[in-house]
């Protein structure tokens, strides 16, 4: 039954794509985030739906789309360089078979991110892309949020449609992504035009934000809690009454604590006592191993290079109470421990050059959005959406990169769609400025003529 519904849905979306080819781009975004072929048992997984969507998107862009004044941003060049560099490291990877498997999805994510901004020629297209990303990821988040609210969940136990812990369906990844999309949801509750912000849009938006905040609770991923902290700090930048906001946030946190499951509170408590926790202490050892490894392999070991690590560490725990407290060190050995950090993932797999390229792509995004945020800070009402959108994209990116300190999500396709949207916004505005003859945008063009004295 579900299979038939998926087929009907995709059939409808593809049919609409033949009316307006940009819908094919959105179809690819949807397929990449939701992966309906993995929730389906027959028919859908027999068709290469993802390849079909991207094929139609590229062909229709080549054949029909207006390419006048097409602009390419430096970051697209950087992504192309990273793509070529990753190809090179894949050909000389320490684990060629595993590396080829990862390359197979990485190249698609990067290539799509390079292509995506070329299609984002209008404001509505940028909005449509972000809305499709949000509604697609909302599928996972609402289901996770509802199950958490009804008492499900647990570390590695929250059932999110697909059991194989891949893509966005892994607990730590989805809890970081769920928090990073909150600034974008807030933008839609104020500036959306596909669904103009009325009480329905606002209610849906706020409930979705609540579901997003429940994801770290449901998955018990500590990364998510840290991301919520950063989100709270970032939101301080734009609130009008800061002290009221701080008081409100603190009160909300205090009220929320009694409702949190005990298992969640206990696990979050281990952020401070990380040495007693195998998951956290192995991370630090893996990071040390990576830095050692890259000393002898400055160009990295190719994808999945972590598979060769063997880590010996002491798990430290305290036994007893009061005066009779003793510290117990238990030696542990772990093999093929994943990086658990996007930064170390890039250093270990792609070496220093790959890491530098990756960092430039991401830091470049944050800097460019800051430039747009300030340039369009005071604008006429028809441009009032620009600065908040640049801010939302920047905050989403910062939260993602913060979460990425503890999760290996350096090349996750979702963030490259976000990067694509940022570049799209940037080149769109550059085109607009060029059309307006380099008039400074912060001067009111529609100001009335001075009255004769």
């Amino acid at each position: 039954m579900r299979d038939l519904a998926f087929i009907a849905f995709l059939g409808a979306i593809f049919a609409l794509g033949f009316r307006r080819p940009f819908i094919f781009v959105l179809a690819y975004v949807y397929i990449d985030v939701v992966s309906p072929q993995r929730m389906s048992y027959f028919l859908l997984n027999a068709f290469p739906i993802s390849a079909m969507a991207v094929g139609f998107a590229v062909l229709s862009w080549l054949a029909f789309d207006d390419k006048k004044d097409t602009r390419v941003a430096p970051r697209q060049g950087l992504m192309l360089a990273l793509l070529a560099y990753c190809y090179w490291t894949t050909t000389r990877a320490d684990f060629p078979i595993d590396a080829a498997f990862k390359w197979d999805w990485v190249w698609k994510a990067l290539a799509f991110a390079i292509f995506l901004p070329l299609t984002l020629r209008t404001k509505l297209r940028i909005e449509a892309l972000l809305l499709f990303m949000l509604l697609s990821v909302a599928t996972i988040i609402i289901a996770g949020g509802l199950k958490t609210a009804l008492g499900g969940g647990g570390y590695g136990q929250l059932k999110l449609f697909v059991d194989n812990n891949s893509g966005l369906f892994e607990g730590s990844i989805i809890s970081a992504v769920a928090i990073c999309v909150i600034p974008l949801i807030l933008w839609f509750t104020r500036h959306g035009t596909i669904f103009p912000p009325d009480w329905r849009v606002k209610t849906f938006g706020y409930l979705l934000i609540f579901a997003c905040l429940l994801m770290p609770v449901g998955t018990q991923a500590r990364t998510g809690l840290l991301c919520i902290g950063l989100l709270a700090v970032l939101m301080l930048r734009d609130v009008k009454r800061r002290m009221v906001y701080i008081g409100g946030a603190a009160a909300l946190a205090l009220v929320a604590i009694p409702f949190l499951p005990t298992a969640f509170s206990e696990r979050m408590g281990t952020i401070r006592t990380y040495q007693a926790d195998a998951s956290a202490s192995t991370r630090i050892e893996v990071w040390k191993w990576t830095l050692d490894y890259v000393k002898s392999h400055p160009f990295g070991g190719g994808f999945e290079a972590y598979r060769q690590n063997e880590i010996k560490y002491d798990k430290i725990s305290t036994v007893g109470e009061g005066a009779s407290i003793t510290i117990v060190r238990t030696p542990e050995v772990d093999k093929s421990r994943a990086y658990h950090s996007a930064y170390f993932e890039m250093i270990g797999e792609q070496g220093w050059p790959g890491f530098a390229l990756w960092l430039m792509i991401h830091l470049g995004g944050i800097i460019r959005m800051e430039v747009l945020r300030r340039r369009y800070w005071k604008t006429p009402p028809d441009q009032a959406w620009i600065s908040p959108l640049a801010t939302a994209l920047q905050h989403a990116h910062m939260i993602y990169l913060f979460g990425a300190m503890f999760v290996g999500i350096a090349l996750n396709p979702f963030v490259y769609m976000l990067v694509g949207a940022q570049i799209g916004l940037d080149t769109y505005l550059a085109r607009k400025r060029a059309e307006e003859g380099m008039k400074p945008m912060n001067k009111r063009r529609d100001s009335p003529a001075p009255e004769p004295a």
């Binding site: 519904a5 020629r121 209008t122 509505l124 909302a138 289901a143 449609f161 596909i194």
Partner: protein, 48 residues
């Protein structure tokens, strides 16, 4: 049960988004008149 409900909700919204988009001329060309205006003009012409 929850899964099916949520799939229905978000996929319905995705489809509604796509449906609304195909009726927006500014999806492909921002110099095109907004849909409200275009409809009004058409009405106007019919009445005239």
């Amino acid at each position: 049960m929850i899964d099916s409900l949520v799939l229905g909700l978000t996929h319905g919204l995705l489809l509604l988004t796509a449906w609304r988009l195909i009726h927006r001329p500014d999806l492909d060309d921002e110099s095109a008149p907004p849909p409200g205006e275009a409809r009004q003009n058409r009405w106007g012409r019919k009445r005239a």
